[in-house]
Amino acid sequence: MPASDDGGGAASVLLRPPPGLAVEQGLEGDDEVILSFPLGTGARSHAPLTGAEEAVLADLLLGYSNAEISERRRVSVRTVANQLAALFRKLGVHSRLEAARIAAERMSQKQAGGVRGVAHLDSSVAQVSGRSDNMSENVTLFRPVDRMG
């Protein structure tokens, strides 16, 4: 990393390039340049998910709202919101849709015989859906109706 960024001094170190920064488009003499960097490299925490966070993620994958998750888990809506916030931070995402996509990727990789640390999530989804062979099975069982009892 070049320390000799002109006119920056010590402060320029604080605004150093994000890891993986690349020039996408625009070469010499061009007035418009497009830069890119991989998402989630800086803000994402590498901390493992807690049991509560994994449980909330499993519910999120089933399409429950915060209120519904709160009812299922017997915790307050605020607790659910806090657990989701921690979950999003750890996954490096900003919405439940993104979180669901990441979790789905994890599961498909797990089924393809890969990643450690998702067994808990996997089993909790499998438990609800009854099957875990592929995602379309889970989708057909979106929002099961057995929770009123």
Partner: protein, 117 residues
């Protein structure tokens, strides 16, 4: 967290100007952020060479304040750290953001959020 690596591809073909140099131009206010968007696990930042009065660059205090703020530090925390008043640091950041072409706190976090400590 390595499972997202599949989404990240190799860097673009070598440019005549290294990305770090252009980054320095952007954070120095000599290139302005026009737009940003996300695609395929990467954030793309469209920048354009600054013209007119904006080519002056940032002051040292503006850079410090901007860096701390984009790292998520609250305005009053930044003000305390830099030993200036809240209104001063707010003005520093507002002007620094205008320099860089950042129109909102969302822009600030999106473009500089991953770059600051």
């Amino acid at each position: 967290m390595r499972q997202r690596d599949s989404l990240e591809r190799e860097p673009a073909p070598a440019s005549a100007v290294p990305a770090e140099v252009i980054w320095g131009e952007v954070t120095g206010g000599r290139f302005q952020v026009v737009d940003w968007y996300d695609r395929d696990g990467r954030r793309y930042v469209v920048t354009r060479r600054a013209t007119g009065t904006t080519t002056q660059g940032l002051t040292e205090r503006q850079r410090l304040a901007l860096a701390r703020r984009s790292a998520g530090a609250a305005l009053k925390v930044v003000a305390f750290e830099l030993g200036v008043s809240l209104s001063t640091v707010a003005r520093d950041i507002e002007r620094a953001m205008a320099h860089l072409g950042l129109k909102s706190q969302g822009d600030l976090a999106a473009v500089l959020g991953h770059a600051s400590v």
